[in-house]
Symmetry: D2
Subunit: 346 residues, 4 copies
């Protein structure tokens, strides 16, 4: 940490910064410069309360040199984390894992049809919400426990793995019992009580990036889960808020490269929420795989025109099939391999 | 709702939109225009799933005419909501209510000293966190239940009212027992499970705007609380995320006017989190009152240089006193009146 | 255009809106709804001054149904514009055109070396700035006319085509004489005086998206050029401003799909400015091609560690070669073809 | 400047950074830390090309300690700049200067009526555009030279000073001849060719903040003007782009405090463009003055419902009068004084 003093800072002010750092239990290293003095804080263990130094008289700025996260950092663990899935494939290695399905579980017929179509297209994980976070209290909120039962049925019928969202501690318990992967939604990325409980469960967590979360904040939220005991975290870029509302969100595809640089955790892309428009999903899915994403989370509905939520961004079944063929070819160009329902690639 | 067709939309595509609207139980009103046809959806009760229409062939855009929120809307209830506080003052009328105090409860001595200073400066509500949401799992997370006990002690000693944050259902129960107002933090603005429980408690809720929440989204989150039974919601603008990181957040002061236009709910300003810099708090507090805010939420610490969190944005006690004098004069210019500890103004 | 009235709007206010629309020369179509009345403005020719209606008493909102741009719209001209280049290739058809080179022309040796490396890697256009817009008045501002002469020399030596930036009317004249394509930088996207002059020159214009420009604004700026007489406009996505400063800008890759949906104009991607980090350029270049970009604008420097500007985002020559191989394979997956120096593909 | 190395950086990589700094003509000060080594660059004169260092192997990040601007900095000149106006008042001292008038000059009758109303309300500067930058090439672009003539006539009739916008070098010459202050619009904030020419004219420049410009970038644009010879620059906050489109822009009121902290230059607020809604202008004007703005730039039209541009954000004449009374009272609370047409306050 570097404490930059104002140009006219007095020797007393500098001495006070040094004394405060001492008192906090770290070592101060003053560095007089051409225009101003800076004071280095040496020995930062990631727990320094910078705000205390920022407000001292004569201080212009406090600059963070160490990263606030630890266990999720690639400097902490250089080799990529490979999250193992029940079918023997992994997220974070050579495999590319595709999770597809409708926004919500709507009925037995709908979810079984969807599951068969997802499997036929070549994806290995079925996604669908039983508990739905909706901006409006009057919108469809999901089938709840009945939705989880139908997902279990779809797994039994097709052999697909299941990923679905948990919104609160009680829901987490239920989802952890019946799903293969647990999704934490964008709106709950900084619901720290929930994140701590995710550290206690034995299933992989798909942690979606918050609507306006920076990558370091996403990594800090993952750190909560790792620090609480669960190393199997899969991040997911799903678009961020921007000034341009032509698309539902702004797909921050570079997040894939940034995460791969800073962290050993794998990262998926969700081109459906990132764009909000069905026709943009296939090109953005291709782009994500070309950029090195470890997998995809995409919405497909047997009949998007009758979907109870997110119909506009749900693929038609035949669009999913074409998309799978294209990304399979692109993955090969960069030495990756899309996992198919017959088992993990090797 | 208006469904705008593409320029080359076929009669069949238009007929399909009309049929879908019929099937959804609303009335379709096609309007041929110079360049393109639009189809009005008449009878929207706020539950229309727009996404289903957006994805239909030939549709260029779906435009929302009705607002998605209801009970919080000024069209629903024209006169301003006045949330009653235990001292007889109200938030949302002529009164301007100031809530001040440290970021966190740190110790008995610290919180009692702060409470006396807050009272001396002329504010009526003591703010301080017992449960702290922190980006890093390694940062100070608050004193928890012991913090709530110390806040109760501060109230007993000074007569100040207490506002403090709840982060999850269990914490909400505890806070609801001991505080006068319950704060829901920015990161939990879309924690719908928590919002629903806020509807069950009998105390006023201070709902802070999410980091990148639009005003309509803030209103929808308030709608969750009203719909669940609690009409006493006080909104709070605390700065939003922006591309300019010179300040901690971007203080969206116009939100005060926007909320007053769209809703009957009162709105506070939190200039401390909005700027992150102690020296900007007094000018921004003055600005908020001049703009018509119904109150303030500000951080003050007996000794900001030793604060365990948010020291840089905490006022010194004498800064709070000067700020109170200035906003009292400004409130008078626009016909408002700052409430003092001796009781509500009349 | 749809004028949405407030819920309690009086018949007089509605009549006033109708009268104003009449006075403006259009037809008004009032539509009473369940909750409120809307008034359609029929006959919008794109010149309606919406602001006049927004401010009328009783008006809640004015909603734009028509797009403000015309000639650039895909509805105006459904088939894609193919901008012809001197080597016989086109931007906007099956060809994928790569423009590469250093940020600035620095010296004869540097630009000639760069040109030979660009050609060896398989790109067909050399990019380099002679006139440089720099945030600081004290930073290197380019070699000016001498830079243009060196670019002409590089073309003579290698046969590469040249693209370089013009910043003002005088510079535009000079650049138009010596370059094959003229670049208008992001900071000048709304320099309307300059755009109008671009309409007068006979060379293709590469129009970069402004730092915080929406796609409709980018299209309107292109419309200025088309309206002034030059149909050969190539758009370029180069990242937009965001709250996350981990990357230099936020690469809005979905802009490629959005532009292809709304307009017939071709669009390039500039992954160098979009990310600011050399190591992110190849994955983002692959992603752009996978998403359907019509070409790339990338920075490469013979010796990035000694570059006078943008060194951190400039590829090493061997990185460019590898990138060209990867994007060539990806282009084939989606039926496109990267143009090489030996001539246009067919 | 601080070059932060990656955790596993090798001694060779560190040595290379040191050597590069030496070669660039500065002194390198390596600082081994607990987790990583940093290298200080000592002697930074503001011309260091950071990008060259960012890209070196083993470098994690380059941190800027010095500010890139100089002459505009408060560290360079601690006392506030007071820009003198022809009527004897100054912008940047105790005086608060109000500039009001219509968006565009539309006709002799309109501008003369507006000028008399502005004077009657108590403002001293008439604003109105002769050259209008419009997003669409088909929108009204201003009366041009005829507009300047009408502004001169309004000055002759009322004694008000005139501020109007210049969009290009030729327009700048014309405006400099006839106006008292020259406005550079938001879209041209980084039109460096134009800024350099502003340095040559002898009139004060009102430099509006770009739509997505950070404060440091705004200051760097002002630096262009000062560096070219004109010290009389008045900054203007007019709202920035944000994800929330409820208001036209997001009024960054804290920019007033930030600029006053970093620079000696004065700053105005433009609540009309900042919000886009007439009814929000008075509360935001009050807020700006309460926050310490050195003046206001507001739109008022004799008949906003017939304005040719920006009608929805133009005040009615009586709204301007009331606003002037309110801000006069608020200015007094903080020891400032609104200048009236009878002459500067003292």
């Amino acid at each position: 940490m570097l404490i930059v003093m104002k140009q006219g800072a007095t020797p007393e002010q500098i001495a006070n910064v040094v004394a405060t750092i001492d008192e906090m239990g770290y070592r101060a290293a003053p560095m007089p410069g051409k225009q101003r003095t800076s004071v280095g804080l040496v020995g930062n263990d990631g727990r320094v309360e910078a705000s205390r130094l920022e407000g001292l008289a004569g201080v212009a700025e406090v600059i963070h040199v160490s990263k606030p996260y630890k266990q999720v950092s690639r400097e902490w663990k250089p080799e990529p984390t490979q999250v193992p899935l029940p079918d023997g494939s992994t997220v974070g290695g050579r495999d590319v894992v595709v999770m597809a399905g409708p926004c919500s579980v709507e009925s037995e017929e709908q979810i079984l049809t969807a599951a068969h179509q997802v499997k036929a297209a070549g994806a290995t994980v079925l996604r669908a919400g039983a508990f739905k976070p909706r901006s409006s209290p009057y919108a469809f909120q999901g089938l709840g426990i009945r939705g989880l039962e139908l997902l279990a049925l779809a797994r039994a019928e097709t052999g697909l793995m299941i990923v679905t969202e948990a919104m609160d501690p009680h829901g987490l318990e239920l989802v952890a019992e019946s799903a293969d992967l647990i999704q934490i939604g964008a709106r709950n990325m900084q619901n720290y009580s929930l994140l701590k409980e995710c550290g206690q469960v034995g299933k992989p967590i798909v942690l979606k990036r918050g609507l306006a979360a920076t990558i370091p904040e996403l990594l800090l939220s993952a750190e909560y889960i790792l620090a609480a005991g669960n190393p199997n975290v899969i991040l997911c870029e799903r678009g961020v808020r921007s000034f341009d509302t032509t698309t539902r969100n702004l797909f921050d595809i570079a997040a894939i490269s940034v995460v791969h640089g800073l962290s050993h955790l794998p990262i998926l892309a969700d081109p459906s929420h990132a764009t909000g428009h069905r026709d943009m999903v296939p090109p953005m899915a291709r782009a994500a795989i070309a950029a090195g994403a470890d997998g995809l989370l995409v919405e497909m509905h047997p009949n998007p025109e009758r979907a109870m939520s997110d119909g506009a961004q749900s693929l038609f079944p035949d669009q999913l099939e074409r998309m799978m063929r294209e990304i399979t070819a692109i993955a090969e160009v960069i030495g990756r391999s899309v996992v198919t329902p017959t088992g993990a690639t090797t």
